[in-house]
């Protein structure tokens, strides 16, 4: 996910609103013949706002995935149109999420902290987002250890329990290091060193988004 992050992300709340609106409106028109034009339009808008590279990277992942989904859908439903809609929905899923995916998680946390969201929530959000790759690596490591030792079968004893114990150790160590750095869940005042502010770029993006969505709804 870090590879997808942009150096000039949008304001987190703008990104969130954009993801919700683009996805919701897109799903509503998923059965429309011009559905792919809608997706293409938003790829162009994102490119204009500096997310072109990320969009290409995301499409390189989502197009093959959507093809697989479409194929499975065709096998189950025996209907080409439904398969095409399914593939389109998968691409829409990826495209609508672009503003959020390009967002560094710390920006989201900073924006929420700036809005007065309790520290307990912002801290937990940051940990959970940041720890997805760490947890995945830990799971992989335990599986490799299992293979190295030639353990077969005993999935519960040789895999589940060690993974859980490893994750608990990680969580304890992290809690200790956070407390050492004076992090707390109390109501003590905290500083947001780099407040995330609403910039002209965000305003322009909102304007373009509203215009695009409203013209789509009116003309299609």
């Amino acid at each position: 996910m870090e590879q997808l992050q942009s150096s000039k992300p949008l304001h987190p709340l703008v990104s969130l609103a954009s993801t919700i609106v683009v996805l919701a409106v897109g799903l509503f028109y998923a059965k429309h013949s011009l559905f792919f034009v809608y997706i293409l339009g938003f790829i162009l808008i994102y490119s204009a706002f500096g997310f072109g590279k990320t969009a290409v990277k995301a499409l390189l992942v989502f197009i093959p995935v959507s093809a697989v989904f479409g194929l499975f859908s065709f096998l189950f439903q025996q209907d080409f149109n439904i398969a095409l809609q399914m593939a389109g929905r998968v691409i829409l899923f990826g495209v609508s999420a672009l503003p959020m995916v390009t967002l560094p998680p710390i920006n989201l946390t900073r924006a929420l902290a700036g809005l007065g969201v309790p520290r307990i929530l912002t801290l937990g959000m940051l940990i959970s987002i940041r720890f997805v790759p760490v947890v995945a690596a830990e799971v992989r490591r335990v599986r490799e250890a299992m293979r190295t030792r030639g353990v077969r079968g005993s999935f519960y004893r040789a895999f589940v329990i060690p993974v859980m114990i490893r994750l608990m150790n990680i969580s304890d160590t992290m809690a200790l290091s956070l407390e050492t750095r004076a992090f707390s869940t109390g109501k003590e005042p905290v500083s947001v060193y780099e407040p995330v502010t609403f910039k002209l770029r965000d305003f322009l993006y909102c304007l373009v988004l509203v215009m695009a969505i409203s013209s789509w709804v009116v003309f299609v």
Partner: protein, 291 residues
């Protein structure tokens, strides 16, 4: 009610209760006056009421955290209360209803006061469990290709049951499941805000149901109820979002009656299977000193 009024009300209740006890036990009463022993108890209780520092916020003494009565007087008062309490319905029914209401209110307040604050350790653990939930729930992604209601929920149910149980076993505090749902949703919001709403809402509802029944997670049944309900409760949201966002009519979303019953039942069964597995793993981790 003003402080003085409240004090005199308390005194009146105490007097009435002691009176019922004294009369009912045929103590040596002088006319309408209390016997010497009951009179002594009444005087003592008046003094306690006069000196009570919690008068402004207190409800009834049984809910108080400070035991201000002397041991022998406390015992005497307990006997009086035990005798007069049930009989109050015959003499002063309104007073009894009031007492029941305030006692319950007071106990609830104490429960809320006892809500332990979440520590960094709890937050870190819940957040890591949320990350693990996100990774394991990826198994449900390929099932998006099959437009059968509840299939994805069923595939993910076992993981949600398992990790929610472990989370609640370690962080047995009201609000823990909602936080787990929120942290899990925080990752999902990057991909789909719909999933965020579904996860957070189902976690909150499951937690509210469990806490309304059991009050806290001290009881193992509360953990089982909350963790087991989390994924099944996401089913109504799946229907709702399919209807609203995909524009499919309800009849289309719910077509194939037998499959819907199977997937819904499967979600419940697998969710509780996850809970059982979670309890088993939790037991082992507890033995290892990790929970």
């Amino acid at each position: 009610m003003s402080l003085e009024k409240k004090r005199s009300h308390e005194k009146m209740v105490i007097s009435k209760m002691i009176g019922i006890y004294c009369k009912g036990n045929k103590h040596d009463r002088k006319g309408k006056k209390l016997c010497s022993s009951c009179s002594l108890l009444e005087d003592y209780s008046y003094k306690r009421i006069e000196k009570c520092p919690y008068m402004e916020t207190k409800t009834f003494c049984s809910n108080c955290k400070t035991h201000c009565y002397k041991a022998d007087m406390r015992e005497k008062m307990r006997t009086v209360m035990r005798y007069s309490g049930p009989r109050l319905i015959l003499h002063h029914p309104i007073l009894l209803i009031k007492h029941g209401y305030y006692s319950r209110k007071g106990k609830r307040r104490i429960k809320i006061m006892r809500l332990e604050r979440f520590k960094i350790k709890d937050i870190a653990f819940l957040a890591i469990m949320a990350a693990l939930l996100f990774l394991t729930s990826a198994v449900g992604m390929p099932l998006m290709t099959i437009s059968l209601f509840g299939l994805r929920n069923m595939a993910m149910a076992i993981f949600y049951g398992l990790f929610a149980t472990l989370a609640l076993m370690r962080v047995a505090k009201p609000g823990a499941l909602s936080l787990l749902g929120f942290f899990n949703g925080a990752i999902l919001i990057m991909f789909s805000p719909v999933m965020f709403i579904t996860m957070v809402a189902s976690a909150i509802i499951a937690e509210v149901i469990a806490l309304l029944i059991f009050r806290s997670y001290e009881n193992k049944k509360a953990v089982i109820t909350a963790a087991g309900l989390m994924m099944p409760l996401s089913l109504p949201f799946t229907v709702l979002f399919s209807v609203i966002m995909n524009g499919d009519p309800l009849s289309v979303v719910l077509e194939g009656d037998l499959f819907i019953i199977l997937t819904s039942l499967g979600t419940v069964v697998l969710s509780y299977l996850g809970v059982i597995l979670g309890l088993k793993i939790g037991k082992e981790l507890r033995k290892a000193g990790k929970l």
